[in-house]
Amino acid sequence: MAGFEFLLQQLVTGIANGMLITLIAIGYTLVYGIIEMINFAHGDVFMLGAFSALTFLQLVGAQAVRRVRNVDQAPSPETYLWLVLAMILAMVFCAALNVMIERFAYRRLRRGGRMAPLISAIGVSFMLQNVGLYWKGASPVNFPRFIPQIDLVKEIGIDSFVRFTTKDLFVIVVTVPLVIALTVFIQRTKLGKAMRATAQDRDAAQLMGIDINRTIALTFLLGGALAGAAGLVSGLYNNTANFQMGFSYGLNSFTAAVLGGIGNLNGAMLGGVFIGVLAALSDGYIDPRWTPVVIFGTLNLVLILRPTGILGQESAERA
């Protein structure tokens, strides 16, 4: 494989993975932006999103799955319907779960300093992992191959080693609109502005008639919905899920959020794609075993040079 084509291939993989990481990173960064707390349970919400989608697909889509066994074949029209339903289900499930977690595990601790909610989040993370363990067992489970793996580069008649498959396309087609929709919501709508106002000055927001608790709940709802979508997409992209996937994806996503500047939405997107591409390049040019070292080494370097992350504001200015 020619050098340039190899690079291109790593970029394709990196961007697809980076978009997944972005979806999860947004959940970390939104929550941090509004209550300055790291929601350590967020990755596990993502994992349960994958599980809920999987359970749904196994239940209702058994026949559809059988029909798309042949992975090179275009899926039947009903398959799309099942996918859309699975996506909605995973998003609603994770949104509701995240809102409940905030309501019962964090809200009352908000006044108790920074440490109490953080410890509570770690506890919730363990609880959710155990729910996952009970739900699907300890070993990785196969995700049905709903998305065929057709190489679009070949399909359009270009002879190249680079593969850009329908799966890569699927990730981008799902994640990019979600990220755009979220950005528009936060930038343009009244509720989105209320979220930003609450993040910037909570007391002043109350003086505008903004219900702080509802706004924070809304933040968890949005972050949870994106994590649910990411759960489904990751399952279909990697064709596997396990109860610990929340930890590994969560760690990468959290790193992406911090790297981009935690609390900053554009930072989460930048950091997500950056980490995805960096991991793919490291996998391809160095060794997958070294990838965590490369990622966290880069994180250290960025934080030494810019403690607030690439796009982060000074904390004094944030207050």
Binding site: K193, A197, D201, A204, Q206, G209, I210, D211, I212, E317
Partner: protein, 246 residues
């Protein structure tokens, strides 16, 4: 600037009865009572740390009094959530402005109108921009990049977007030049003339008394004096302590 004739003073709209407010163990308000009549301008004077801001924050529901009551038009509001008190017509421009620094001027005004979504919002916006034409030139600018005086105008304009019947202003002249202070106080008079009841906390006692109907003087968490603005202006203690005489 043409001053409209003021609507007549009406019955008591806001009544504060013997409130005690704490910050943890700090007993900041030690039995504050005051009342405000419809269409009045009432000023709250007092030296640093007397409890003026604490009083306004307690009225707005940001702080809860441990005992005592706050009553708005006959309805207890000392247990009502801060965001619901805004819906009842009490808006505040807090001490230190507290504009949303990374929202634009326009977005700050949007937030002021958070509780309204009817067609009148556009009229309100026009009205406050006529009151403070400087803001119109800076609509797309982030509020954090405004000058102190402009931020103060924005804070008042933003509070006006909530359509208050009672407007609480905490030190609207803080850090402003005499010229800008005049602009702000003219605006306050104009707002009051449109039928809005105003409670204004001020360090600049002379200025506050010049526009107020009545005043209260606070000292270490208590009201120590209350009278008409004219009488307070003549009062020996007030002259010594707050009007820079003696």
């Amino acid at each position: 600037m043409t001053l409209q004739s003021r609507p007549p003073i009406g019955p008591v709209v806001l009544e504060i009865d013997d409130i005690h407010t704490y910050y943890g163990n700090i007993h900041a308000l030690q039995g504050v009572s005051m009342n405000v009549r419809e269409h009045e301008i009432v000023t709250l004077l007092g030296s640093n740390g007397a409890g003026k801001s604490t009083t306004l924050r307690t009225i707005s529901g940001i702080l809860r009094p441990r005992t005592g009551s706050v009553t708005l038009r006959g309805k207890r509001i000392d247990n009502v959530a801060a965001h619901d008190i805004v819906r009842m017509g009490v808006c505040q421009s807090p001490e230190g402005r507290h504009v949303f620094p990374r929202l634009t001027v326009d977005e700050n005004l949007d937030m002021g109108a958070f509780i309204h979504s009817d067609a009148q919002v556009a009229d309100d916006r026009n009205r406050v921009l006529t009151l403070f034409p400087r803001l119109r030139e800076r609509l797309k600018q982030r509020a954090g990049t405004l000058s102190g005086g402009e931020q103060q105008m924005l804070a008042i304009a933003r509070a006006m977007m909530g359509r208050p019947t009672v407007l609480l202003l905490d030190e609207p002249s803080m850090g402003l030049s005499p010229l800008l202070t005049d602009v702000i106080f003219d605006a306050i008079k104009e707002i009051n003339a449109t039928g809005v009841t105003v409670v204004v906390v001020e360090q600049n006692a002379q200025l506050a008394l010049s526009i107020a109907d009545r005043g209260y003087v606070m000292q270490t968490g208590r009201i120590v004096l209350t009278d008409s603005a004219a009488a307070l202006t003549q009062n020996e203690t007030v002259r010594k302590a707050y009007l820079g005489e003696g």
